[in-house]
């Protein structure tokens, strides 16, 4: 899994930092998303997917790795 975030779209609601704190954080100054781990380990995949799905600004993109 590869993640990317769009800080221009981000509206700082904090849903990602709440849902997947190991993967996402918020900048203390502007509140916008910080990607802590663009390639999180498997155990955080479900939370990262959920964070992307509920992001109010659709600012998180998930690229799933191909099954081999």
């Amino acid at each position: 899994m590869k993640l990317s975030v769009d800080r221009e779209r981000c509206c700082g609601a904090g849903m990602c930092a709440l849902t997947a704190p190991e993967v996402f954080d918020q900048d203390d100054e502007d509140g916008r998303v910080l990607l802590r781990d663009p390639q999180p380990p498997h155990r955080h995949h479900a939370a990262a997917r959920e964070a992307a799905a509920i992001c109010p600004a659709a600012a998180i993109t998930v690229i799933e790795a191909r099954e081999t």
Partner: protein
Amino acid sequence: MQQQPSTPPPTEPTLPAAAPLSEPVTLPTTRPTGCPFDPPAELAQLREEQPLRRMQYPDGHLGWLATGHSVVRSILADSRFSSRYELMHLPLPGGPGELPPAPPGDMSGLDAPEHTRYRRLLMGKFTVRRMRELTARVEEITAEHLDAMERRGGPVDLVTAFAQPVPALMICELLGVPAADRDIFQRHTAAVTDQSTTLEDQMAAYTAIQEIIHGLVLAKRARPTDDLLSDLAQDGGLTDEELAGVGAFLLGAGLDTTANMLALGTFALLSNPDQLAALRSDSGLADQTVEELMRYLTIADTGIRAALEDVELEGQLIKAGETVTVSIQAANRDPKRFPEPDALDVHRKATGHLSFGHGAHQCLGQQLARVEMRVAFPALLTRFPTLRLAVAPEDVPLRTRSNIYGVHRLPVTWDQESGR
């Protein structure tokens, strides 16, 4: 929760039981008798038939009503739908027909880039981390109010003894509003969202809040203290008028929202003893109970948007200029999204509810609200293991004429000896 412009008083629904799909409907507003936590029953039928359908507005406008979770979510996320008040037709009768543009600082009635400018100034002040740092202070204020309830003994009105003052003191501290002014603000804020008062009264109450805050802003500019208004006064790049508007907006959003969740949420838990027992027996359920109560109660039940251009959605064409009423409460009870949606289930994962809105306007203060509810509900239930209503459930007065649903009073009592 999202702030919405004032809407006029609801009337009896005029919706026929089975309107043909081609017929426009009106917005159902009457909750079923004896079911204070349920949305109007007609909404479920409309959602099942056609989650996006034509709606007749009281001023003659032919617009839309969205009731399905997926379509409501899409509309709230789509910047082709505007939040500007002056573009909206109101979904309920009795209003003035059109609203003035948002006053300076009222972010909820603006689109990008004006909305973005305000939002970005504030986003860093309401992060998950910053709000969690307030936990100890929320616990302190919560305990003080529970102490006072315990000393006084039941029955007490939970609204005035607990649900209102705890979040009110928190938002006042955060903004830097003197606690002494809290009562005045609370009264005026109630008037702003009360649909049974006239628009003039609502505007007067709003103006009164702004005048007090305007005075505060001038004081913070001269002598900054350690609070949000002072921070914004120092480096926000806002005029006095804009800053006063932002202050009034944040204060209003903090005073009349969590307070209603705490009181109505307690009422809902007391009315669902099995769920209450499950929560009491497993404190690990507290976080998801807060989300489930948010979903189940949806106190900000309705949103309004206006199409800026033609938008095709669900195989239908919404034309530029048409108003769309989004029923958040119908979306949160959509069985396609939440199985058994009409049950309060503290074991449910209710994430994805739309009670804080969705899109660029999603509630800025939601992480503060979560911390407050996460602390206040368990503390109340732990302090009073025998907490119960002091009146019959049907005698609890409901805020049926407010933009934010809730109860006016919640008389509760407990066994004094086992109170603690």
